[in-house]
Symmetry: C2
Subunit: 185 residues, 2 copies
């Protein structure tokens, strides 16, 4: 980095918060990892903020009520803000089912915020069911399970929609990267 | 940043977690701000993680029991780790009264961790009492107030001890910066 900090500035202006929202098993974490790997290969600084990991380390106190989900998201936004304003791309993979939560993130992060709707129907996600959660939700064992016993509010104007029913994870990742390239990221 | 990411690597290797521990009103936040300003003036990336601010944004759920204080510190360590491994210096200003908590941070962060004991006696801090907390603590209004109704375990082998009873804030900040320079930060 040059002594006048110009590189820090250059990094700062480019870094994004890539916010992957969607149902459980829609493919958020997989896409996050693929995009992160490619950005790292390009020499960019990246951190993945995975909902499950963050819950354990940052939000062990929180459940799945609307209020707790919003608090969870706000903490992730706080960390993503710290990272991205210092030139580190943050890729958040969080169900974040409420439109209001995501709109607040957009408001705070401004131009840095890239909302990515990782789209797959409840039926397809339930068929994947990698964590055996949909079965339990349909059996009535999980009270607040998004898409089954809890709402999911689809994004109205996301920057990107990934159709993970039709695309492979690699294709989805490529679509995100193409968007970033176009935007001059 | 060069295309091969060498600058990210360069920044990464230098970034530190400067952990300021000490009583309320010992001078942690003041020193944090002064050190941050100087590092920024040198073109370095820096974030201050102030205990009071972090409590509001990241830890509104937490009180002042030993367990809650440790959770609070662990969350700050989590964020400081993300920042510092991406070349962003993190300056934490947190009472963090328990030795075990700080030792865990040291273990996780390794060479990046710089423990700074911001040292002032309860008597001197109580005389400063900028937030009117000591008066209330001595009056029995604050049940778990560090140094009065709750323990403070002094660091055994901190990298730096700042005697804020004898030094001005500028002198304390200069001492931290001199240490970083010596270490090649």
């Amino acid at each position: 980095m040059s002594a006048d900090g110009s590189d820090a500035g250059g990094r700062r202006s480019r870094a994004r918060v890539i916010w992957l929202t969607g149902l459980s098993a829609a493919g958020k974490s997989t896409v996050a990892r693929l995009v992160a790997a490619e950005l790292r290969a390009r020499g960019e600084a990246v951190e993945v903020l995975d909902g499950d990991v963050v819950r354990r380390l940052l939000c062990a106190d929180l459940g799945f009520s609307r209020e707790d989900r919003e608090t969870n998201a706000r903490r992730i936004v706080f960390v993503a803000d710290l990272l991205s304003r210092n030139g580190v791309n943050a890729i958040a993979a969080v169900i974040s089912p409420y439109r209001q939560t995501r709109d607040q993130a957009r408001q705070l992060l401004g131009e840095r915020f890239v909302e990515v709707y990782v789209k797959a129907s409840v039926e397809v996600c339930a068929r994947r069911d990698v964590k055996d959660l949909y079965r339990r939700a349909f059996a009535g064992e999980l009270a607040q399970f998004t898409g089954v016993s809890d709402p999911y509010e689809q994004p109205l104007a996301p920057e990107i929609v990934l159709d993970t029913e039709a695309q492979t994870p690699d294709e989805s990742a490529a679509q995100v990267l193409a968007f970033l390239d176009e935007r001059g990221a």
